[in-house]
Symmetry: C2
Subunit: 311 residues, 2 copies
């Protein structure tokens, strides 16, 4: 029995008209990513390979805020963060502030496999990528016309308000949709999680959110669950959100669904933190929770039909 | 009632002869840092101010692996990581890969106070520092003659072994002593934690360990406890060690001492992870645990005598 879930971010819908055609494109992107992971699980592949494939597909899709199509930082460049974790042996790899690697989740995977370190950032991460044989790409590869327009609108809005640089990010009252992630349980009972993002639109250069932080945005442990989060990254860093779900199972005897519901609807909502998460436990149960207007998400379990939802 | 504890790292003793005079110098450094925090707590200061002052004192002391006296990365430079967290409101600030800020813990504090972000790295963190009025220093300020010698010996040893760059860090079979941290509970019942480090000697440039990662190396929540860790950073990232202690209290009903003992002596030891941590709970209980040959540590509670220990 296997289980796989993917997300494309939780937040408010874009302020541009969210047409039926646009909605269909997001659904299609989610289903394609799910299929990329499912193909591997169907062929007895491991959870780690499945989450990497699903997240890489979403990174390549310009609709989502990860790699190609990522939001722009306050200086008009793209800075990417990603992490991946193997619940089998607690192996992990993470990168932040990467601007020239086509698929940050694949770089995180390579760190997991080949480095004595877990977390590499900036130029050091890209030097590792080069040495590992990754072809570096120009930062412009990641920037789509839609994101350029969004950036210019945000700049104009803040210039008019006379806001300081740090307010660029704070000006967005809802976390933007778009961070991507995947969680899986494979036939062998192993769990894995991966997350990838461009972060917050207009963020201060050098800002790292929760996505690449093991325990905050990404966590997996075969004995409990695998989790990928999306939302107000700063809050999820403070609540150590991904590991908080695992700890509720490990120490509190929570079911996965109860852990996710209580964390999202009670604790995070009480703190004023907006976002969501997807999780799968060692028995293959899937839970997806969010306290935002929408969360792009899709899931499938072996022998069952795949589902995709926005609201 | 207040409580304060500081650590100067857990690991094996340095391979240079650890003379009585040298041991006395370490004890004195720990006691001075403790006194810097205690002065504030005695004057009804808050836990957050106390841990910042204690860690800044250890950063300035060349004996410890933080700021002045930090270990060198594989490229011969110093890259500093630090974090601070306020258990009152879960506010946090963190920096990584900083090479020009005299007291990284004070920069982390400024992020906690003034930024909408929690975690800033590299040049972006230093740009924030400049804008906040910090005077930047040359990277050479951090490099002491002892650390230069250690670096050259490590280089030579690895060249002889024909080892790859990543093996530089892995070659150290014990985590080096020296990362610093502090935890406190103030008269008002608020908790705080702070940690600062130069990381692993010979680390790959861009490597981030557990110290600046909220949940891994540093965590504080008034409802549970404040924790600062030291040791094999990569393992503490994977086990989300600081928040794991808080979660054992929150969800498992553990006492602080039981949580620390079980985490260090059972879980971490079973995983082959070496290190230690200091913690204080909301009632002012202090727990300090390690599975290494030594941990530099000192603590005090209001109305009691201060103690300092190495073994």
């Amino acid at each position: 029995m296997y289980a796989l879930a993917v997300h494309g971010g939780a937040g408010a819908l874009p302020r541009v008209p969210f047409t039926r055609a646009r909605e269909a494109a997001y659904r299609q992107g989610l289903m394609q990513a799910l299929a990329a992971g499912q193909r591997l699980l169907d062929a007895d592949g491991c959870a780690l390979d499945a989450v990497e494939a699903a997240v890489a597909a979403l990174e390549d899709d310009p609709l989502f805020n990860a790699a190609h199509g990522a939001v722009l930082a306050g200086d008009g460049t793209v800075e990417l963060d990603a992490a991946i974790m193997d619940g089998n042996g607690l192996r992990a790899g993470a990168v932040a502030q990467v601007g020239h690697v086509r698929n940050p989740v694949r770089l995180a995977r390579r760190i997991l496999e080949d480095s004595s370190h877990v977390f590499l950032v900036g130029a050091g991460a890209e030097r590792f990528a080069e040495q590992a044989g990754f072809r570096l790409v120009d930062n412009g590869y990641f920037i789509t016309p839609d994101r350029r327009l969004q950036f210019e609108a945000l700049q104009q809005q803040l210039e008019q308000a006379g806001a300081a640089p740090d307010a660029l990010a704070a000006a967005l009252d809802e976390p933007p949709l778009g961070t991507v992630g995947a969680v899986a349980r494979d036939h062998g009972g192993h769990l894995a999680a991966a997350t990838s993002t461009g972060g917050t639109a207009g963020k201060r250069p050098g800002r790292v959110g929760d996505s690449p932080v093991i325990g905050a945005g990404t966590y997996a442990d075969d004995q409990t669950c695998a989790v990928s989060t999306t939302g107000h990254g700063e809050w999820f860093l403070r609540t150590v959100q991904a590991y908080d779900i695992a700890a509720r199972l490990r120490y509190g005897g929570f079911s996965l669904q109860a852990a996710v519901s209580e964390a999202i609807n009670q604790r995070l909502s009480a703190l004023g933190a907006a976002g969501g998460l997807i999780a799968v436990d060692h028995q293959g149960a899937i839970a997806m929770g969010y306290n935002t207007p929408a969360m792009f998400r899709a899931s499938v379990r072996s022998g069952e039909a795949a589902t995709v939802h926005i609201y």
